[in-house]
């Protein structure tokens, strides 16, 4: 079967039918695994990112050096394992948490494991952008480390956090597509199992186009929201 024959009128008709029948559920699976994985990754990654900044020796609440080294090494290790391999590596953990390692729900575990170190680094970089003079000012007011985190560092970095979380969510969506290769559901699975393995290239391209559109929408919304929230911009 050659490539051009995948785009005959019958094949295109078939792809169109697929778009109406299979796609809505696949899109839903992609979206909810992305959203849930991002949520869990933020739940773990946000505090971790805060600790990376505040726990430094020159931070507002220094933590023991060995603990900080351990966290940094752990994050770097997880960040350096390619996602497709990480997914296979965490299968035992997935079985413990979800009971199975196959399916969309199960794919949320490896997605979270892959994403939280990434989120932690993004949070770290956002918090480092906060003007150190403002943190010193809060200390001069008698703020506790917790108050500095909640009332100064996080509010001041909201636009940057939104920008970085947008980056994270689009990246995690890319991962969900990859998880289609090892049992995850969604547009990735549709493109690979239906489009690629059964030579329905029209379906494969269609799945990619839909992914591109969703990514665009999320990115545009994130950029808009970050700008809207940033009070440093004078003329709005």
């Amino acid at each position: 079967m050659n490539f051009a024959s995948a785009f005959t009128p019958e094949r295109l008709q078939e792809a169109w039918n697929c778009l109406l029948t299979e796609f809505p559920f696949a899109v839903w699976e992609t979206v909810y695994s992305t959203v849930l994985a991002t949520f869990f990754a933020i739940v773990i990654g946000l505090p971790l990112g805060i600790i990376l900044v505040t726990g430094e020796q020159k931070g507002i609440r220094p933590l023991p050096r060995p603990l900080m080294s351990f966290l940094n090494v752990l994050i770097n290790l997880l960040r350096s394992v390619p996602f497709i391999i990480l997914m296979v590596m965490v299968i035992p953990l997935t079985r413990v948490i979800v009971g199975t390692s196959v399916g969309t729900v199960a794919s949320i575990v490896p997605l979270t494991v892959a994403a939280f170190p990434f989120i932690a680094r993004l949070v770290e970089s956002s918090l480092r952008e906060v003007n150190p003079n403002i943190i010193e000012t809060a200390q001069a007011m008698g703020a506790t480390p917790m108050q500095i985190i909640w009332r100064v560092m996080l509010p001041e970095s909201v636009p940057s956090l939104i920008t970085n979380f947008t980056l994270a969510i689009t990246t995690i969506m890319g991962y969900t597509a990859m998880s289609g290769a090892v049992g995850g559901g969604g547009l990735g699975k549709l493109a690979l199992a239906y489009g690629y393995q059964r030579y329905r290239y029209a379906v494969l391209y269609l799945a990619v186009i839909v992914l591109v559109i969703i990514t665009q929408v999320i990115q545009s919304f994130g950029t808009w929201l970050a700008r809207k929230c940033d009070k440093r911009l004078k003329n709005k």
Binding site: E136, A138, Q147, K231
Partner: protein, 342 residues
């Protein structure tokens, strides 16, 4: 009352140890507006940060109303910092919060209710003259307005001491003047002790009653502002008061003889002192450098005269000037008579 007792601060940097402060002894009385002045790198910022323990002194102690701040525990330290507020050169407002929220911040740190904090913040906005900026964001304000908000925020906890770290250095002269006036007002009305860190002598001149001159981490001169201005003893002080004077140090021509006249504000500006001397003694001095200003009708500043001709001319000039009350002059020449006559 704030007392600094034998205060020293050493840093260890990559280039080796640095003595930022060396054996500082100062007393700031309640109600003072106390200036601490020095060139960049003199240790001013380190000194002011030792007063609220943002920097821990290596040696010596800081006493606030007799209490040694170095002995305080973390929690007590935070309580103390509510009584010793600080404003900065770069204002340091939260950029993502409105002016009102910025002023409320120190109150929110102490579990004050929202309503109460808001009420207090609005009063303070009124006090600093920006009642209509409650819902504006700092980015929408000018530098002077931002500093006013920062002052309001510093006053929210009703402190007894206000530390100003180069608070007007980023502002233009007119705005500087307005902010200094506000600080003086606050000092008068609320009786808050103010410590002003600056590199600008004009700031000290405008609001301070006492001043300490800091050079290389040491206090080289300290006293009443009027006293220090009219009779600056340390070279660093003279350089700060009359920066132009330092440039004139090497102007003396071969065999020349100079007199430095210092106007200490007791001489009316209109008095044509030099012209009179020229007419009455027949000596025609050249003015090598001068910097004078009139404050309240009286002259402050200095004038550097080169006296031409023989040493007798110099002696006559000296004797003429000695007859005039209320000026200070120094002879700086290869003139072999008295060294310094005051």
């Amino acid at each position: 009352m704030i007392e600094l007792r034998n205060l020293s601060k050493h840093f260890t940097t990559l280039d080796g140890p640095v003595d930022a402060l060396r054996h500082i002894n100062l007393t700031v009385r309640d109600g003072d507006i106390y200036g601490i002045i020095g060139m960049s790198g003199a240790g001013k910022s380190t000194l002011v940060r030792c007063i609220n323990m943002l920097e821990k002194p290596t040696e010596g102690s800081v006493l606030l109303d007799g209490q040694d701040l170095g002995a305080l525990k973390e929690k007590e330290l935070r309580e103390m910092r509510r009584k010793v507020s600080m404003i900065f050169q770069s204002f340091n407002l939260l950029m993502q919060r409105t002016c009102l929220q910025n002023i409320m911040l120190p109150l929110k740190l102490t579990r004050t209710s929202d309503a109460e904090a808001k009420k207090k913040a609005k009063e303070l906005l009124e006090l600093v003259g920006l009642p209509d900026k409650a819902n504006s964001y700092p980015a929408q304000l000018s530098g002077g307005q931002q500093q006013r908000i920062a002052i309001a925020r510093a006053l929210a906890t009703e402190p007894s001491v206000l530390l100003c770290d180069e608070a007007t250095s980023a502002l233009d002269p007119k705005t500087t003047h307005a902010i200094l006036e506000l600080i003086r007002d606050i000092n008068h009305k609320m009786g808050i002790t103010v410590i002003v860190i600056t590199h600008q002598m004009s700031v000290v001149q405008e609001i301070c009653n006492r001043v300490a001159i800091l050079e290389n981490g040491e206090v080289v001169e300290e006293g009443e502002v009027s006293e220090v201005f009219s009779n600056p003893r340390a070279k660093a002080t003279r350089n700060l008061i009359y920066p132009e004077m330092a440039d004139n140090e090497n102007l003396l021509s071969e065999g020349g003889q100079r007199i430095r006249i210092i106007f200490n504000g007791k001489q009316p500006s209109q008095e044509p002192l030099i012209a009179k001397m020229a007419v009455e003694t027949g000596i025609l001095p050249s003015i090598m450098g001068a910097s004078t200003r009139t404050v309240g009708g009286n002259a402050y500043g200095y004038m550097l005269l080169e006296i031409p001709g023989s040493p007798e001319n110099m002696a006559r000039a000296v004797s003429y000037l000695s007859g005039i009350p209320d000026i200070v002059f120094q002879v700086e020449a290869e003139y072999s008579g008295e060294g310094v006559i005051a």
